[in-house]
């Protein structure tokens, strides 16, 4: 009965569909969406409100600021870049809805900077980025799964994977703390699983591993129990591989307990400004080890950081300058080069091809080689390890960035000989 009805209905709908097709399909597909001779529209969906938003909600503002700077200096190939920002509250359902609005209503040319593993995965599949050929530039996740080019042929990531980071930390531990007791605090999800895989490859045996549920770091007393556990196990070195709030909670409580092992902070939770804002006294942080692929945001002698600071002051109302601002501007900076490199006859396909072809040579603040190629869509491929000074800033050891590079697979961790290309004049690659 229902089947018969449905068949009838589908015949009817086919007729209607054909009719409406004739009406709508007449004006031929002229240009790519989001593109005119003088403008290009990009879209970002990111948590602007909700529990995951603090910190990350500074990224779109930083991107906009850099794009405005480029626009004020002529745009890219004569086109001015606009950025449409949507708030997804870190909920995958909303992220898909917002991505659809960006793609179908705002008709953006490409997505940029989507944040969160689950959201990225949902958008890529449901919004059919693959079949529609919509580029997703510099997604904000270090989950190694996005390196799978077959599954995500239009997505590019900038951050090195969590697995790479764990391998680099593993190498450091092996060289400096062989035979010592090591402890690990990690988030009990894909972020942590990626890390555990990396540490396994580096053959690190932890004396104690403390998992925490994402979000539980806000529960009163939770971080205190981490420290009591660590004190009981008495390791020499503690690796904190969590988000900012968890890292800050761990360090804050360690301070309260006068507990001071050798700390190693993962890059995700190691932003000094965020930590300082969360009441971790900089002095307490002094001597801890940290990782980053970009120069320290406190390093005003770095030409990129200096330029980003100026842009932030002029175009971003001087919002407090930190890793989030650097991350946002770096993505924008790379996007500008990608668009430039795709030439005046810009297409979505052309943009993806341009990054695959020239991406590895794009100028950017990052101190590690970019891995973009026709076989890889992973950007930064390593880290430098440094020490936090008494002001809480992460500084390279001996004043020189020692950069390690590796992959998300079984490859070795090696010292990088990469020399960062000089910054284009005035920070304008357009």
């Amino acid at each position: 009965m229902i089947g018969k009805n449905r068949r009838k209905l589908s015949v009817a709908s086919a007729v209607i569909a054909a009719g409406s097709l004739l009406l709508t399909a007449m004006p031929a597909q002229a240009a790519e969406p989001g593109l005119t001779a003088s403008s290009i529209k990009l879209g970002i969906t990111i948590p602007m409100t909700g529990i995951a938003s603090p910190g990350y909600n500074k990224i779109p503002g930083a991107m906009k600021a850099y794009f405005e700077y480029v626009n004020a200096n002529g745009g890219v190939n004569g086109r001015k870049i606009t950025l449409v920002v949507k708030d997804d509250q870190y909920i995958p359902t909303l992220a898909v809805a917002k991505a659809n609005e960006l793609i179908l209503k705002d008709k953006v040319f490409a997505l940029i900077g989507t944040l969160g593993t689950a959201s990225n995965k949902a958008i890529a599949r449901s919004a059919q980025l693959k079949t529609r050929g919509i580029p997703a530039l510099f997604v904000n996740t270090g989950f190694s799964g996005f390196a799978d080019k077959k599954a995500y042929p239009t997505s590019f990531s900038l951050l090195p994977s969590y697995q790479m980071e764990a391998k680099v930390i593993g190498k450091y531990l092996d060289e400096n703390f062989a035979g010592k007791k090591v402890a690990l605090l990690y988030q009990d999800d894909d972020f942590g699983v990626d890390a555990l895989n990396g540490f396994k490859q580096a053959k690190i045996d932890f004396a104690i591993k403390i998992p925490y549920a994402s979000g539980s770091q806000g529960v009163a007393g939770v971080a205190g129990t981490w420290i009591t556990k660590l004190q009981a196990a008495a390791p020499d070195v503690v690796v904190l591989f969590g988000v900012s709030s968890a890292t800050a909670a761990a360090l804050g409580n360690a301070y309260a307990y006068k507990y001071a092992p050798k700390w190693i902070l993962g890059s995700v939770g190691g932003d000094a400004v965020t930590l300082a804002a969360n009441k971790v006294p900089p002095v307490f942080l002094a001597g801890a080890k940290g990782l980053s692929f970009a120069p320290s945001p406190a390093d005003a002698t770095d030409e990129y950081i200096k330029m980003f600071m100026d842009v932030n002051a002029t175009y971003n109302k001087g919002v407090a300058f930190d890793n989030n601002i650097v991350a946002g501007m770096t993505s924008a900076f790379l996007a500008v080069q990608a668009i430039k490199s795709a030439g005046p006859n810009l297409t979505r396909k052309g943009l993806i091809a341009a990054i695959e072809k020239n991406g590895a040579t794009f100028a950017n603040p990052g101190l590690t080689p970019l891995g973009f190629s026709s076989t890889s869509h992973v950007g930064a491929t390593g880290y430098w390890i440094g020490t936090y000074d008494t002001s809480g800033a992460l500084k390279p050891d001996g004043g020189k960035y020692t950069v390690y590079t590796t992959d998300s697979g079984n490859g070795p961790v090696v010292l990088s000989t990469y020399k960062r290309p000089a910054m284009p004049a005035k920070g304008l690659p357009n």
Binding site: I51, P54, G218, A220, G224, T225, Q231, A256, A277, K279
Partner: protein
């Protein structure tokens, strides 16, 4: 051994923060029979007022009473202009069981949006007024700092004062009477509406204190989407339900139990289990005692 002591201390301090939240939920429940989900929002708003004071006058000790007073004023205002109308409009039919709860959810959203309009969605910070470094015994450090001691003292004092007000004063008697039997109380000459507003104001003040203390004890960061506050809401309510919504003592007892169980599970079982533990604890308690640990006799329930 020392680990057990510290785990115990962690449980007691986090429990006392839930207790402040649970107490304010119980106060509202007892005075108006409403489960107030906006409580965390009200606490957040008064903490923002406190933040403004800290910002301008650089004094936490001034900010704390200001937060409590503004909490009381906001709560009284909400009860006066909003809850009163609401309860009159939807006091019968199936909506009566859900309308107040849902309305307070709406309030929570309004308050958050309001805060977002004025202060933005990014973190602001409140410095802790006392040291957060624990006291030492020999080489060991206790999970007890001057700040945590302040919290414990503040909660105990608040509880003592509230118990006194409730049990020994006329207004306390009026509060209890208006909740159980509003009609009879009215006939007995009690200004039921006024008494209810007073109950809300008390709750608002307790919430303001909870917000200020929790923020100073936690990482000091404050935002409309603060994780701490959404968890304070959930865990405070769970604690109140565990204790039995009708009893102030139950709220404190439930909160301390929740704090202790969570601390021991976290230390000795596993860090990933915190959320599900709260659910299981609640379920176990309610299966044994469907109206919470310290429940009134069924006949007395309104």
């Amino acid at each position: 051994m020392f680990q057990i002591l510290n785990t115990f201390l962690i449980g007691i301090t986090s429990g006392s923060i839930y207790a402040l939240m649970a107490i304010s939920m119980v106060l509202v429940w007892r005075s108006t029979r409403v489960v107030n989900f906006a409580q965390a929002g009200m606490a957040l708003l008064s903490t923002y007022f406190g933040y403004e004071v800290v910002n301008r006058f650089d004094s936490y000790w001034l900010a704390l009473p200001v937060a409590m007073i503004s909490g009381a004023v906001v709560a009284a205002f909400i009860e006066l202009v909003f809850m009163r109308v609401l309860l009159k409009h939807s006091n019968s039919g199936p909506i009566a069981s859900i309308a107040p709860i849902i309305a307070t959810l709406g309030l929570l959203g309004l308050i958050k949006a309001f805060i977002g309009f004025f202060w933005g969605n990014q973190d602001v910070n409140i410095e802790s007024p006392l040291s957060t470094v624990g006291f030492s015994i020999g080489t060991q450090t206790l999970s007890l700092s001057p700040m945590k001691l302040l919290i414990l003292i503040a909660v105990s004092m608040l509880l003592l004062v509230l118990t006194f007000v409730f049990q020994k004063t006329n207004i306390g008697l009026a509060l209890r009477a208006s909740a159980y039997a509003p009609e009879i109380s009215r006939l007995a000459g009690i200004k039921v509406d006024l008494v209810r507003t007073f109950g809300w104001a008390l709750a608002g003040a307790a919430g303001g204190a909870a917000g200020m203390l929790q923020t100073a004890n936690g990482n000091g960061a404050l935002s409309p989407d603060s994780l701490e506050f959404s968890l304070l809401l959930a865990f405070g309510f769970i604690a109140a339900v565990i204790g039995g919504l009708d009893s102030l003592l139950g709220a404190v007892f439930g909160a301390l139990l929740l704090g202790l169980v969570l601390a021991f599970v976290l230390t000795y079982v596993g860090g990933s289990l915190v959320f599900i533990t709260a659910f299981v604890l609640l379920l176990v308690v309610l299966i044994v005692r469907p109206a919470g640990l310290i429940s009134q006799k069924a006949g007395r329930r309104a």
